[in-house]
Each structure stands twice: as structure tokens, then as C-alpha cells.
């Protein structure tokens, strides 16, 4: 995927094996879904070498998730390009990272934080802390945070104009999404958070409340005229003390 990924495990003991297994889930997803790899399943599908009946179970699953989001957002979210090619980037990263986090949990880990290119899954908390402090990056100034959320169990995903913004198209109009320059979604799982963050970005301001009805716990948006808007439960970090 060409994106940085990190896993921070705070459970006692040496858990490199678990981390390795989780990373492998992400690598496998990359091999299968990357449009930058000629040998990926998605590339093969886009060349017409594979018909839908040939698709693997993971590819079907990801397409299903994306299609449901497309339907729910009246087409604002999309999984195909204007040319009809599969573009699953809005689904794959969150889905793969959620699976990687599930591997960690299945391995008995409780306190960890997984970050795949800005998509975050947290479980438990660092020792002595109320939760994991997740900074929400400012789209205009990458080194600064819009705010910080404290989470114990859940997922956070952010779509922004600084990210793949030019590629996020409002599927309803076919034009680049407008209205928001950043959309952050907090949800129980990262698959949901990631898809919804992209969908909210595509929908614009209306997406903020829309997402609450589609599985988001909390939504934070920065509008293109500079207002921070939010809905639902957004657990802002408290003082460091």
C-alpha cells in the first residue's frame, strides 16, 4: 500500500509474533487489492481477466462493503471509477487494518493501538492512561492537530483534502467532493469508520449527521469555510495530568 503502518502493544511481554501476524494481514491485503501491482487480483479484474464469478472471497467481501456504502450514500461513495474500473481504496485500508487488529485481539492482546496510514484502531489503554490519545490532523498544516480524542476501544478514520482528496469524487455529480476539507469518523470498528469517513467527505456537510445513522459513533468535519462541525459522541482529550 505504500503507507506507513505502526502497531503499539502495551500488554506485558514480548508480542512481536503477534505484530508480525498483524502486519502480514496488511501485506496480504496489499498484494490482493493494490491497483499499483500488476499482479494483484484487482488489477487482473480491471484488465478483464477475472469475471465476478472468479473473484476471491475477500474481494467479494470488500466489494460488498463498498457497495452497501454506495447505496447508503445515494452514490456519493463509490467503488468504481468513471471508467467502470474497481477502485476499492475507500474500503480496503480500513478493512485490512480492522482485520489486523482482530488478529491482535485474537492473540489475547488487550492494550494496543494500530495505525495504518492514519486509520486507527485502539484497544484498552496505555498503562495509567484513560485511553489512547488520537490526534486528528489538520488538513492545512499536517504537523498540527485539529483536536485530540481519547479512546479506549474503537476506531478512527479521517479523510481529508490533503490526503486523497483530489481522488474523492462525489459520485452523485462526478466532480470532486466539496463542502468539507476533512472528515473524521469514530466507530466501533475500522471498516465502518473508514468507509464512513470517505462517504462523509464525499457527501459534504450533510454527511456529518448522515453518518450517525449509518454506524458512526461520532463525526467531526472541517468545512471549507473553516468551521469545525461535529455530531455524536466525540471524546475529547482532557488535561495531561
Amino acid at each position: 500500500m505504500g503507507i506507513p503502518m505502526s502497531i503499539d502493544i502495551r500488554d506485558a511481554g514480548d508480542h512481536r509474533d503477534s505484530a508480525d501476524r498483524a502486519f502480514e494481514v496488511l501485506r496480504e491485503a496489499d498484494r490482493r487489492f493494490s491497483t499499483y501491482r500488476a499482479d494483484s487480483e484487482v488489477s487482473a479484474a480491471n484488465r478483464g481477466e477475472l469475471g465476478p464469478e472468479d473473484f476471491s472471497a475477500p474481494l467479494r467481501e470488500v466489494i460488498g462493503i463498498g457497495q452497501r456504502a454506495a447505496d447508503a450514500s445515494a452514490g456519493a461513495f463509490r467503488i468504481r471509477t468513471a471508467e467502470g474500473l474497481l477502485d476499492l481504496d475507500g474500503v480496503v485500508k480500513g478493512w485490512a487494518a480492522a482485520n489486523a487488529a482482530a488478529v491482535l485481539a485474537a492473540g489475547g492482546l488487550h492494550d494496543f493501538c494500530l495505525n495504518a496510514g492514519g486509520d486507527v484502531v485502539v484497544s484498552g489503554a496505555p498503562e495509567g492512561a484513560a485511553g489512547w490519545n488520537v490526534g486528528i490532523r489538520s488538513p492545512a498544516h499536517p504537523a498540527t492537530m485539529l483536536t485530540v480524542l481519547t479512546l479506549t476501544d474503537g476506531a478512527v478514520a479521517t479523510s481529508g483534502a490533503y490526503e486523497r482528496g483530489e481522488h474523492i469524487v462525489d459520485g452523485r455529480t462526478g466532480r470532486p467532493a466539496s463542502g468539507l476539507v476533512s472528515a473524521t469518523v469514530v466507530a466501533a470498528d475500522l471498516t465502518t469508520a473508514d468507509v464512513l469517513a470517505t462517504a462523509v467527505f464525499a457527501l459534504g456537510r450533510d454527511g456529518v449527521e448522515w453518518a450517525l445513522a449509518h454506524g458512526a459513533r461520532g463525526v467531526l468535519g472541517l468545512t471549507d469555510d473553516g468551521a469545525l462541525v461535529g455530531a455524536g459522541d466525540l471524546p475529547f482529550a482532557r488535561g495531561a495530568a
Partner: protein, 173 residues
């Protein structure tokens, strides 16, 4: 629809308040930075812990001449007539692409009871914050205090920018 929008605006207010709070509380900077830009009467709020809130000090960063009715009479303590002290804190002047922005927050104990905009882009008059959605606060201070952030949600970094990112610093721990 209209009601929904109103709700959103109200929430935007909370957002800004929290932004200020995060900046002040987490990172111990409100007062210091304020003094740089404005203020005359400043007392220290010793950032982080507000645990000993019983001091009852009123801190008004009395912002520049450009902010007229900055007289945020902090006496407006609401229902909680408890032992909680009222404290007014002026946030740092934040620059964003629309201009400078500064808020003043009144706490009753640890509860926010009032927020006033002292400076706002395009409008130099002091105004009640809940009259309109407000521009973002760019909390450069938060970035400067990145040690308090465990991880960052936001970008598919390029490898180059990743080298500069907060997450890379975390990874080096």
C-alpha cells in the same frame, strides 16, 4: 433540516470551546501565549491539572484594543453555586488563513460556563460565539506538545512527510 443545521452550529460552539480547553489544559500554554500577544493582567494557570480550582482567581487576558467589550464579567456563574470557583481564561491568539482568532473561556470549576470571542477573522467586534459557526482554531500548540499524542488519524502520508510526522517520532520510541 433547518433544525438540524442549528444543532450543528451549536455543536460547532462546543468544538471551539473544547479546542480552547484542550489547548489550555493539556498543554499549559494559554496564558503564556496570551501575554505575548495581548493581555496585561495575567495569572498563571499552571496548565494541566486544574485540580486545585478553588483559588477563585479571575484571569482576564484583556485582549488588545481591537476587542471592545472584552469585559467578560465572570460573575455569571450558573446554577452550580457550589464551592466551585469561577475562572476566566483567555486562549492564545491563533492564526488561520482567515486571520487571527482568540477566545475567552469561563470555567466554573471544571465546567465551561461561557465563551466569548475576542478576535475573529473579518469581524473585530467581540461577539457571542454561539451566534454563528466559528472558524477553526489551528492549534499549533498542540503539535508542539505532541508527546501527549499517542497516534495520529489523518493522512496517507508520503514517505517524505512521514519522516516529519508525529507518528514517526512515536515509532522511534
Amino acid at each position: 433540516m433547518r433544525r438540524k443545521w442549528r444543532g450543528t452550529i451549536l455543536f460547532a460552539v462546543i468544538m471551539v470551546v473544547m479546542g480552547a480547553t484542550v489547548g489550555l489544559r493539556l498543554y499549559d500554554l494559554g496564558e503564556t501565549q496570551t501575554t505575548a500577544s495581548a493581555s496585561s493582567t495575567t495569572t498563571t494557570t499552571s496548565g494541566g491539572t486544574t485540580s486545585g480550582t478553588s483559588t477563585g482567581s479571575t484571569t482576564t487576558g484583556d485582549a488588545t484594543a481591537t476587542s471592545p467589550s472584552a469585559t467578560a464579567t465572570p460573575s455569571a456563574t450558573p446554577s452550580t453555586a457550589a464551592a466551585s470557583a469561577t475562572k476566566t481564561i483567555t486562549g492564545a491568539v491563533e492564526q488561520n488563513r482567515y486571520g487571527s482568532f482568540q477566545v475567552q473561556v469561563t470555567f466554573s470549576g471544571s465546567t465551561i460556563t461561557a465563551v466569548q470571542v475576542l478576535q475573529s477573522p473579518g469581524d473585530r467586534r467581540s461577539q457571542e460565539i454561539n451566534q454563528q459557526a466559528t472558524p477553526i482554531l489551528e492549534q499549533e500548540a498542540i503539535a508542539a506538545q505532541s508527546a501527549n499524542i499517542d497516534t495520529v488519524s489523518g493522512a496517507t502520508y508520503t514517505s517524505e512527510s512521514y519522516m516529519q510526522s508525529l507518528q514517526s517520532a512515536i515509532d522511534q520510541l
